[in-house]
């Protein structure tokens, strides 16, 4: 029974710091600590440990903020320079698709003509036509993937 009281007190000492305790629990704990030397010692040790921990100072490396700002600015510039290229890529894709739509009947006629000449099955012709449509998207995707791979390689700073 007495052990339970001490265990409860010890639990409340930590709980007070971690998630808080109710008014009733606080009153009980205060009363217990007044009477119990060992629990009071634990409460004191907890208080001192946290006070010391909160007050622990770390020295910042000299010029860390300046070096970081410089790197961030360089990266920002790089991103700004890259943005127009991306936009251009999408403009080219859009034009390509627009031209694709406009010329689709003629391209299909051409594919059909090739099909008649070679005797290729209709499924192959349709697949060829679909592929012709997908070329701009595949091209754009390839550029985006290559760009991402390049960026990942550039930022492979984990060698240390």
């Amino acid at each position: 029974m007495i052990d339970n009281l001490h265990a409860r007190a010890e639990k409340l000492i930590s709980q007070e710091r971690v998630e808080g305790i109710s008014q009733a629990e606080g009153d009980w704990l205060a009363e217990h600590l007044r009477q119990c030397e060992s629990c009071s010692q634990i409460a004191k040790q907890t208080h001192e440990a946290l006070r010391a921990f909160r007050g622990a100072a770390i020295a910042l490396p000299r010029g860390l903020a300046e070096r970081t700002r410089f790197r961030v600015q360089l990266r920002a510039q790089e991103l700004r320079e890259r943005e127009p290229k991306r936009s251009l890529l999408w403009v080219i894709c859009a034009i390509s698709w627009a031209l694709g739509i406009a010329t689709a009947p003629y391209v299909w006629q051409a594919i059909q003509w090739i099909g008649e000449r070679t005797g290729a099955p209709r499924l192959v012709l349709e697949f060829g036509f679909g592929l012709w449509w997908a070329i701009p998207a595949l091209f754009a995707a390839a550029i985006v993937i290559l760009e991402n791979v390049r960026q990942a390689n550039e930022r492979d700073w984990s060698g240390r």
Partner: protein
């Protein structure tokens, strides 16, 4: 507070260079301290510090202002450390996520002084720094977030991407370890 965060989110979306400069200045101490406690290495903490801000620049549009900026910042920093650990395969990710199941987040080899000890003892050879060396890194992390950064339990859970129960459990164990370390007991 929410309005401030929203304004911050908009600035980050625009990649406002002035705002980033200001944030680096404002959070440099807190972020570096967190990274130092997390990695136990000054050099790595510096690398991760710079990389974290580059990520903030690149992914600023992902911050929506619903949560404290520092929670988001610490989460980015932590993810970078985890990615690095994954890539180096120095420590299993499972051990990092659930430290009770495996080794705590430390880089030092056994029977050698830990890098944190070397770093901290260079600054102060006694007192709290020496004691902190005896607290496992994964507990130091939550202790920093709770008692130095004053983050709420839910915010810490957000940074760690861990359940609230895990956060509480680590905090209780961490507090016990800290108390033990400060008063000569085993952590």
């Amino acid at each position: 507070m929410l309005d401030e965060n929203k304004a911050l989110a908009q600035g980050l979306k625009r990649r406002d260079p002035g705002l980033l400069d200001q944030l680096i200045e404002q959070y440099q101490y807190r972020l570096f301290r967190y990274l130092l406690y997390l990695t136990s290495s000054r050099e790595r903490a510096e690398d991760f510090f710079q990389e974290t801000w580059i990520r903030v620049l690149e992914r600023g549009h992902q911050y929506d202002g619903k949560y404290k900026f520092e929670s988001w910042l610490f989460r980015i920093a932590r993810n970078l450390v985890i990615d690095w650990q994954r890539s180096k395969k120095m420590l299993s990710l499972d051990a990092l996520i659930d430290p009770e199941e495996g080794a705590p987040m430390e880089f030092a080899a056994k029977n050698q002084p830990s890098p944190l000890h070397l770093v901290l003892s260079a600054e102060e050879k006694s007192g709290i720094h020496a004691s902190l060396d005896r607290v496992p890194g994964v507990y130091r992390e939550v202790l920093v977030l709770r008692f130095q950064e004053e983050l709420g339990l839910e915010e810490i859970a957000g940074v760690l991407a861990a359940p609230l129960s895990t956060v509480k459990s680590r905090l209780y164990r961490g507090l016990e370890a800290l108390r033990g370390a400060m008063h000569g007991g085993a952590a």
